[in-house]
């Protein structure tokens, strides 16, 4: 059963995953081409000064890519389920409804985490060419909330899309916007260093919210509007 569910999820997200893999890697390569240009062809001393003293973030253009990846993957996964209420097919499978939702959500999150790990690997390799570990760590702490925001956005799209009533969807979307935008306020290095645990915790907690929309769907809330 696990294999079958994961196979279905893979069929839904594989193209979105490829697109965001290419997009992210392209953005990172572009970032390091700019760094290389700054270090080699402009004044290297001035470039370092801007990063270390003035707090310029060389990875700033990466900011919204994890968010778009989270949104894109969730839409690729949940849009085919809500179109024509196909989620009924999924709920009708011989498996507990909450379990199948968590399996779907878990697969999507795992795929997203793998994608983000690839981004981070490329980020590390590129950064190691130009910067010492202190700078890399500093930038890593700075960009980490962007990735956590991508994970939270992924989970919240599931909650919104599976919700049977449009009014609730809009309400959730407004709340989700307010919540996720907290992850993207600052690009200044280390701005979130004391809050990282909070971001991590809240991002993880959003994962199970999809169960609530699933419950409302099975209760038939869409018929009561």
């Amino acid at each position: 059963m696990y294999k079958a569910i994961f196979y279905k999820e893979w069929l839904k997200i594989r193209w979105a995953l490829m697109i965001f893999l290419l997009l992210g890697v392209f953005a990172l390569v572009n970032i390091f081409l700019n760094v290389r240009y700054g270090v080699r062809f402009m004044d290297a001393h001035d470039y370092w000064y801007r990063i270390i003293i003035q707090g310029s973030n060389y990875a700033a253009s990466l900011k919204y890519i994890p968010l778009f990846a989270g949104l894109g993957l969730a839409i690729a996964q949940y849009f085919p389920e809500v179109l024509n209420q196909r989620i009924k097919l999924t709920f009708h499978l011989p498996i507990r409804e909450n379990k199948v939702l968590l399996m779907q959500q878990g697969f999507g999150l795992a795929a997203l985490i793998v994608l983000f790990l690839i981004y981070l690997a490329v980020f590390f390799i590129g950064s190691a060419i130009f910067f010492p570990s202190e700078v890399i760590n500093m930038i890593l702490v700075t960009i980490m909330p962007w990735f956590l925001g991508g994970l939270a956005a992924y989970s919240l799209v599931g909650l919104i899309m599976l919700e049977p009533l449009w009014l609730y969807r809009v309400l959730y979307a407004v709340i989700a916007y307010g919540f996720v935008s907290r992850f993207y306020i600052q690009a200044v290095p280390m701005a979130y260093s004391n809050m990282l645990w909070f971001f991590s915790l809240t991002a993880v907690l959003t994962v199970i919210l999809v169960l609530f929309s699933g419950y409302r769907f099975r209760k038939g809330e869409m018929h009561h509007g």
Partner: protein, 294 residues
Amino acid sequence: MYAIECNNLTHYYGKKLVYENLNFKVEEGKILGLLGKNGAGKSTTINIMNGFLHPYAGECLIYGEDSKHLTPATKEKIGFLIEGHVQYAFMNVHQIEKFYSGCYKRWNSEPYWELLSKLQVTPNQKISRMSCGQRSQVALGLILAQDPQLLVLDDFSMGLDPGYRRLFIDYLREYAKANNKTVFVTSHIIQDMERLIDDLLIMDYNRILAQQPVDEFMTKFRQYNIILDNPDIPFPKNGLSVNVEQIRAKVSFYTYAERKEVEGYLNREGIPFKSIEEINMNLEDAFIGLTGKY
């Protein structure tokens, strides 16, 4: 134990009553057709039966289990065809077979490929790019391969041309009877349903109009065409009458009564008539006679 047992099912949408105290049972091995016009409550019943809607009151038991909380073991016994033959349209015929074969223990792909061999589809053609008729065969093939004990088919005839409808019905009937399957089917297209169902349940807004074996219904429910002497006399809509349609002197009178009873009734009510003729009806005629044209 019954395959399906709905007791005192009551449901509202907001303040609008769908039905009150609906009771019906489906014996194992029977094919029951739930027939009704659009909006009569067929899909509501299907949604309740499959756990996609909690009824306002009452209960629906599937193999003795409350449909609000069906266990995986019971869900495995039910093949569910969603209205419009909805399936995972982003898959092709091979991918969808591979997916479902991993979900069901009793999976037997033979009937699926047999049905698909009749279609002009390429192996990599996505379901989203198929015609409605082709999709219906894919959806039916998947249910047959699942080998469920109970097949729940919601408005399977929707969008099907006569050829596909006939193919679907004939294949389904043959399969169900050969394997002692229980079938619960809803439809608002009554044509061809006589070929499929054993028992019928005809619903109108808020109520059940008929609930009996098809043969019994077709024998007992009758239409008489009556030509009145005086077209200005309104025909009574009480007593033996189930439904009356009057166009001037010509009256179509629908009833469970025999001819002699009808004649006696007309005499007692003081309605002079020129002639009375019993009309042979098929199930569609009888359905319209019972539910009315509007």
